[in-house]
Amino acid sequence: MTPEAAARGRGLTAHQIALRLSDGQRPSFTLTELNLSLAAGELLLLQGLSGCGKSTLLQALARLIPLQTGGLYLDGLAAAGIPPSSWRTRVSLLHAEPLLVDGSLADNLLLPWRFKALQHLAPPPPEDLREGLAALGLDDAHLQADIRGFSSGQTARITLLRNLLMRPAFLLLDEPAANLDPESAQRVWRLLEAQRSQTGCGMICVSHHRRGLAPDRVLRLRNGRLKEG
């Protein structure tokens, strides 16, 4: 695939990207000549051994890590032509470690609307927040409740809902169901499926578990390279 072809394609495209990570804290590894394309509405499951670079690849696609070579394209536009903050509202990353900021549940769900990049979009009304919470089994949660009272499993679901409310074009999910009980995990997969069919959101999901997930494609990351199947 040439850069021109990547640029012509719709969806999220990584063309011949390479990156190396070695900061003394995390294991050093290299991703080489990696090509990836994700169409609107597509669900791609990304698998690989722990520490092989799955999270790093997602962070690179969210433009949080610099590439050594290659390029990223969004609906035919090179990343250089899209401001990083705008890119990250359209290609939204859910981190593996769920994190909430000080404040209420509503403050956290509406956090992205505090930033200029999303101010063109009206914030979701309280009923949408409640509906999303209910879909994730958090019916009892009060929007004004302090976030310090939530468990780690509840926190994980709240952070996922925050990303979904942004209605991104593409969602990069790093272990969205890790540490969730089977029932909550099923709720997460169902909600993701609903978002995919309703909004045409393309998703890359890093997960060690497949139960309840129906991906269109499965990619494995091994020795810095991606393989189908």
Partner: protein, 257 residues
């Protein structure tokens, strides 16, 4: 009122105080005797030299000399901030220098030219002591807030990354850290303002009262000093952080440090 001057004999007698603290240090085997001797010698040397230099400056009373000394004070303060942080990167250096210079120049001349209305504007007797206090406090406030900000980028890295992932710009992602650091830089000044006159008579007022000035005049000066120091600390800290926070990011708004 006649000022009671301290002469050479009194200065020599004052060393008696150091014999008391030195004796106690020896008694309790603190290992501080050598440090106390060096500190005493430095106190004598530095303050007598300062007295001689100020005497000379007051006699010359030249605007360029006053400005040169002011500039030197600010350079040393900025250098101290950067050394304390241990980061000689362009943004940190420029941020520290801009924070010290802009706050010190603005506040010093606001006090001397507008409030006290010193004539001529460069009158060393007024400008240099006020500049010294402003520069010193701005330096401490900047160093404290900047230290806190850099620590924040390490300790709260996950929170900054989260905000960036949700579409925040580098500024928006750093804002909670900047607010916390700003607060930390202001706390010593606020504490000093809250307790001034209750726990102790502040240094400047003490000096003025000992020099024969009416206590109310001393109090008025001290009020001006406290308020100008809070302004210098706030201005210096925020200018420095607004310039230097980008040190932690690259041009693609990625957290790199």
């Amino acid at each position: 009122m006649q000022v009671i001057a301290i002469g050479t004999l009194e200065l020599i007698l004052a060393t008696g105080f150091i014999f008391v603290s030195g004796g106690l240090a020896l008694c309790f085997q603190l290992g501080l005797t050598r440090s106390l001797i060096i500190a005493t010698l430095r106190t004598y040397a530095q303050l007598l030299a300062l007295g001689l230099v100020l005497n000379w400056i007051f006699q010359i009373d030249n605007q360029w000399l006053v400005l040169a000394i002011f500039a030197l004070m600010m350079l040393i303060a900025a250098q101290t901030v950067v050394s304390r942080l241990g980061l000689w990167t362009p943004r940190i250096v420029i941020g520290s220098l801009a924070g010290v210079v802009l706050s010190a120049v603005t506040v010093t001349f606001a006090v001397t030219a507008l409030l006290i209305q010193v004539e001529p504007w460069y009158e060393a007797r007024y400008v240099l002591p006020i500049a010294g206090m402003v520069v010193g406090n701005a330096m401490n406030g900047i160093a404290l807030s900047q230290e806190r900000l850099l620590e924040g980028f390490q300790a709260r890295r996950g929170e900054v990354l989260l905000r960036l992932s949700l579409g925040a710009t580098a500024w928006e992602a750093s804002l909670p850290l900047i607010q916390g650091s700003f607060r930390a830089g202001m706390i010593p000044t606020l504490n000093a303002m809250a307790t001034v006159g209750l726990v102790s008579i502040p240094g400047m007022m003490t000096g003025q009262v000992l020099a024969g000035v009416e206590p109310m005049t001393g109090a008025a000066y001290q009020i001006v000093v406290m308020l100008m120091l809070s302004c210098a600390t706030a201005l210096g800290s925020i200018i420095c952080m607004v310039i230097s926070y980008r040190h932690a990011f690259d041009d693609q708004q990625r957290l790199v440090k």
